[in-house]
Point group: C5
Chain length 355, copies 5
């Protein structure tokens, strides 16, 4: 998990529109998969990139083209030529440190930058992936950072063909992608919430340093989520307000659903953040209470025995004229005095509630 993208000092003042990849190193070759469909049928292809042909013709088919891997500027440049994209859009696609945003382009194209947050079981941490989406009257292009296709669930739905997925136009496909991204974020949030609830049990039983570290890690993950999801909410507001993109009427209810879902997740991120803060306070306070208990115990033992040890030391001195040492019941008297002093102090101090 890297919450902050770092720009290299040498990139300061670079020309905008310069096609340079900004992001994590990737060691796979970008691939492109394409699926085109009408209401009736679906054709899939793991197609080669055409040599700068025109955009898909308006033949009644809708094309969903997914590009997995944006770390080869040359590939992106060729896609850019194919779909007549401006250099600024290409730069956005290549720079994986963008903030989510929605933009209306010319010629009826619309462009989104999105962030998908997921929990990587492999790395044991949250990972963020940037997804750029470009759509026009009869096509949707996605540009994804990693080799795994985030559109798989949508492709599966297209294959099944149930509902409006094949008939409601490219805008519907885009919302389906947004929905699947928010579902993923929701699952991730659920995982953090589940860990937080386990922590509550630990707090009740045996809070230790590890509990602290887990609280910190969860808080960090929550900040990471917030950083990624808050601007997503702005994007959805822009889409709902018809500022960007065109959506069929069939898509509107769906869009409202996704927007509500996002609002809910953002609410819960806030609540979970506050809950984690409350947990940390509880942890600190409990640890303090336990230390108090330990210190009180030490105080109890020490204040009883320290004076007694002193008395024993006195009667262990080698002075000549210590008459009590020779008394017949001197020893018993000494033991009695010690007992009395010990009990007396314990009683007296217990009354003053010092331990």
């Amino acid at each position: 998990m890297r919450a902050f993208h770092r720009r290299k000092p040498e990139s300061v003042g670079q020309s905008p529109g310069l096609l340079v990849y900004v992001g994590q190193d990737r060691d796979f070759h970008p691939t492109l998969s394409s699926i085109s469909f009408t209401a009736g049928e679906v054709t899939e292809a793991c197609c080669e990139l055409p040599d700068s042909g025109p955009p898909p013709p308006d033949d009644g088919r809708v094309h969903l083209i997914n590009i997995m891997g944006v770390h080869e500027p040359e590939l992106i440049r060729r896609v850019g030529e194919w779909f007549r994209l401006s250099p600024l859009v290409l730069e956005d696609i290549l720079d994986t440190s963008q903030r989510p945003k929605a933009e209306e382009l010319d010629d009826g194209q619309a462009f989104l930058v999105l962030k998908s947050v997921d929990f990587s079981a492999e790395k044991g941490q949250l990972i963020e992936e940037q997804v750029c989406v470009l759509w026009g009257p009869n096509y949707v292009l996605t540009f994804q950072e990693s080799a795994a296709n985030l559109c798989e669930p949508i492709i599966a739905r297209l294959r099944r063909g149930k509902g409006r997925i094949r008939t409601a136009g490219p805008g519907y496909i885009v919302i389906a992608l947004l929905d699947s991204i928010m579902d993923r974020a929701s699952v991730t949030l659920g995982k953090i919430a589940a860990e937080a609830e386990e922590l509550e049990d630990e707090l009740a039983e045996n809070p230790d340093e590890d509990t602290l570290r887990v609280i910190y890690r969860l808080k960090r993950e929550i900040l990471f989520l917030r950083n990624a999801l808050s601007p997503m909410q702005e994007v959805l507001t822009q889409l709902s307000g018809d500022e960007v993109g065109e959506f069929s009427e069939a898509s509107e209810g769906y869009m409202r659903d996704v927007r509500d879902h996002t609002a809910k997740v953002v609410d819960e991120v806030k609540t979970l953040h506050d809950l984690l803060t409350a947990m940390l306070e509880l942890h600190i306070s409990l640890a303090g209470m336990r230390m108090n208990r330990t210190i009180k115990f030490l105080t109890g033992v020490a204040t009883i025995f320290i004076p007694l040890t002193f008395l024993a030391g006195v009667w262990g001195m080698n002075f000549k004229g210590m008459p009590e040492l020779d008394w017949e019941y001197g020893y018993l008297a000494a033991l009695g005095i010690m007992t009395a002093v010990g009990v007396g102090m314990a009683v007296y101090f217990a009354k003053r509630k010092l331990f």
Copy 2:
């Protein structure tokens, strides 16, 4: 109390409008109760669901139909056919992890998702129940999660027939439901406030670890309430602004009342949250003060007796040439010196306010 609904990973990218129940497992069979009324009389029925007939005809009667239990998608689908609901609405009804919202549907129908918060004496914790409300010109449908009917108070009022409940139309029934939900939240808040005030007394007397845990639990409950009630306030603003639903003039004063009530509860949730934070700070500080007192006491006892014990040790050594051991008043002198040292230290240190 589960503050966070968790979506299962396998649900990511599911088709919208797919009728799947999302929520707690329920082990009862959904039931449906119905009551229809005119200004003059009331007819109740624990009716069977009709086989996809048309919505209630416009015969001057208003129908309040309550469905208790939304965990059987097939039932919801049939109700959906009956009232010609879109699949997205049905999905919202089946998904109990929705955020409260208000939506205007087609054909003069309006739709609310609400959250009712209650204290379950049985489970000893807060529980949240989702209530969906759908109303049209002459009917109100409610979809509730549990077997207990939240509309009971309204039905009782319908039976009594006092006031405008029978004559002010379905919108009035909906507001009455909102009112009863807010009353319930108010009672729950009052319970938390009462516990908080008891805590204040405990804090004054004998704060311990349990006090801490109770403060934490109350804070958690307050966060839970805030998470449920803040969006309720948005819903009421939408309803008041005539954005969603139609309300008879007779309902408007009532609606304003409910909105004011909600604002008050949300205010108090905020105040109570701040009060609990102040209590926690007080608790931590008091515990710190008490530890200080204990430590100061230990310091007092130790700094007086440690040097004295050392002196006793010195005169208990077995060296040959220790002339003071043989002096006639050596022992008394030693006791005198010890007393002087002890008293001197006590006085000196008390002056420096070290204990």
Copy 3:
């Protein structure tokens, strides 16, 4: 001081407009006092309630009618009939747990719910009283919780007759009441501020547990004030914006004054809250510093004497072959070694700044 009104569970779902008193138990009989005036003269009466006559006729007189005690629903019902009030308004008057609000009623009547905060010397705590105000073209009605009339200062001004109080209409009387409520809140805030400033002196001298409790109490009172006054600010905004009520031109400057005054008080509540938080932090930190000092002292004494006591213990052992015990200057050497060890440790540790 009760910051949170608690609704009883049995009241959930009660019919709106049902005339039930919600509030503290009161053991006095409600009274009604009335004063009517023209520019020239003033007539006072401790009148009986007329048996449902019409509202005061438009005879050029303005009537200020104060009802002290709202715990008898029957009385309120009769006043309601007299002034033709809707049941919802009557319910608001009887429910003393309302949030401050302003409402335009029909027939040129306007209605306010206000909160007056005062310091009760008798109970030694803040008390809140709900005041409902209803006014029409030639009368002002106030409904107050307790037996003491909050309008006394206004009545005194009416008697004196200086300024515009007799000529500027009922709206002016209402603003005068608002002004007197804000003055009262201002005095209360001043009392809290004075206590806070005394605390600062205590913090400088001898902070103890009681200081902590006072900080907590003041914070609680500030939260209480904030809860009561923030919605008052909203009410004044509504009145200034001509949303509710009609005010003569002569009243507008006065209203602006009261609004500015309220803004100032709310500002100061915020500042005082932040100041109390800073005080608490200072207190905690000072207590920590003092504990440090005490612990360092203990450490100093203990680290010097513990090794010395060990040495004395060694030479107090009863082994046979301990040649140093028989040396001529053995004892002096031992004392010398002890002194050297003690001084050496003190010097060495002082250098490492451990105490």
Copy 4:
């Protein structure tokens, strides 16, 4: 520094427009100085108040009249008659506990209440002074609390006559006063910032109780500044938005400057507040770390010597049959065992990183 003005209980419900001075006691006699100017020349006078003549005639001169001392209601009343001010305005002038505000009066007059914050070297603390400004087509009146004239810098500029000060009208004079007040606040803020930066050095070297108290004092001063300056920002927004007062075109750039300056100061107050909070956290944490170090040292010394002292005590017992006491190398063996135990514990515990 008094952050909170206290209203006396007896002032509750006083008639508005009653001319009573509310503020600090002052022991000097109010003075009035006046300066009138045209583009070409300047005439100064320490004039007597005219006996209720008309406002200055429109003879092409602009009059700046400063009244130092508002604690004599009679004087203010006469000024009020002279400039035909309403009683409410006079009351505002006499009440030095106002919140800064801007008001458009009738007859082309405009009225400001401002707060000037300054550091009084004499009292060693921040002081706040209320300045009321009233201006019309050809005059500016200021009402100041103390004997020192805040307008001195402006009068000096008028004497020099450079720039537009003599030609840009009374509005320009008012802005010049605002500018000089903000400069003063800026200097005060700079003083606090300088103290805060010195504190950082202290924190790095030797943080103690005094550092704590200084942090608290600075925080209090910052809250005081915030309380005074935030409403000043609102006043400037009102002036810029042409809601209050008329300003020559020449004044507008100047006004924008003052507004930007105010925004900057308010920004910095916020940043400084956050910085002080961070400093306090650092202080608390550092003190905690140091206590840890001390406690660890005590633990180290005690855990090594306590068992050794016990051993010495055992061999110092007077039992008969203690064969080891009679062994030839018993003493050396005992010393060896003690050394071994001491070193062993030190090594073992150092490994467990307990000290």
Copy 5:
């Protein structure tokens, strides 16, 4: 790093438009470099300042004139005459403590005050530089505080001539400067983020006082960044909203990019601030936990040995009648009793979880 600019007391009430340099002392002579270009070619000059000639003529060339060093008022005055700038603008240029702002001037000129934040490796801290930008139809003037030219990257791009840099007009140059300033801020933020992530590793291993100081320093730097960048965001909003300056169509996409970039940086500043706060909490809590461990250990050792040492002291007393001292197995019994007491206490206390 100086977060707060301090105005000198003597500057209070100075005439606006007075040309005085406010800022850090600089020991270099201001220089001026100029570059003019058409789409086809570029001419550079380290020109002398012309003696108050007219602004560059509209000959189809665009002029970028950089003035490095604003600490000589006379130079700024001459530039002011050359470009016909108002005294207020000149004062803004000379006062390096301005808040970032955008202003439309007369005659089609626009004016920006910007802040560039950079990490100075030499000083080991963040430095802030004020940059004023003035542009008209065919020229861009920059006024920079230090001798290093912030426009170097732009000049390099002009030399290369790729993209639209030479053809898109002066507005485009201004945006390129904004872009390069934000890139620089982004690099700086990245540096802070990198340090913060290193701190996380330290926190996991061995948190000490230095870790605390670094957390504080980073927090201070973040506050510094926030103070500089938040108003930059306002400036960009003004520019995007066409309130200030004219921009060719070619510049708009670029401007949107820079605005998004700024929003992202401001988001990250907020997140990083929250993360550092969480780190501090973790640090404090971890230190507390470790102290607890140490104290528990001390308690363990002390509570076991203190009573044993007391017993040894008792049997080391020199009383006559101590029969157990003479028993055959007295010594063994004593050792046995001590072992039993020690083990017993250890077991008993371990059960009570006191250590």
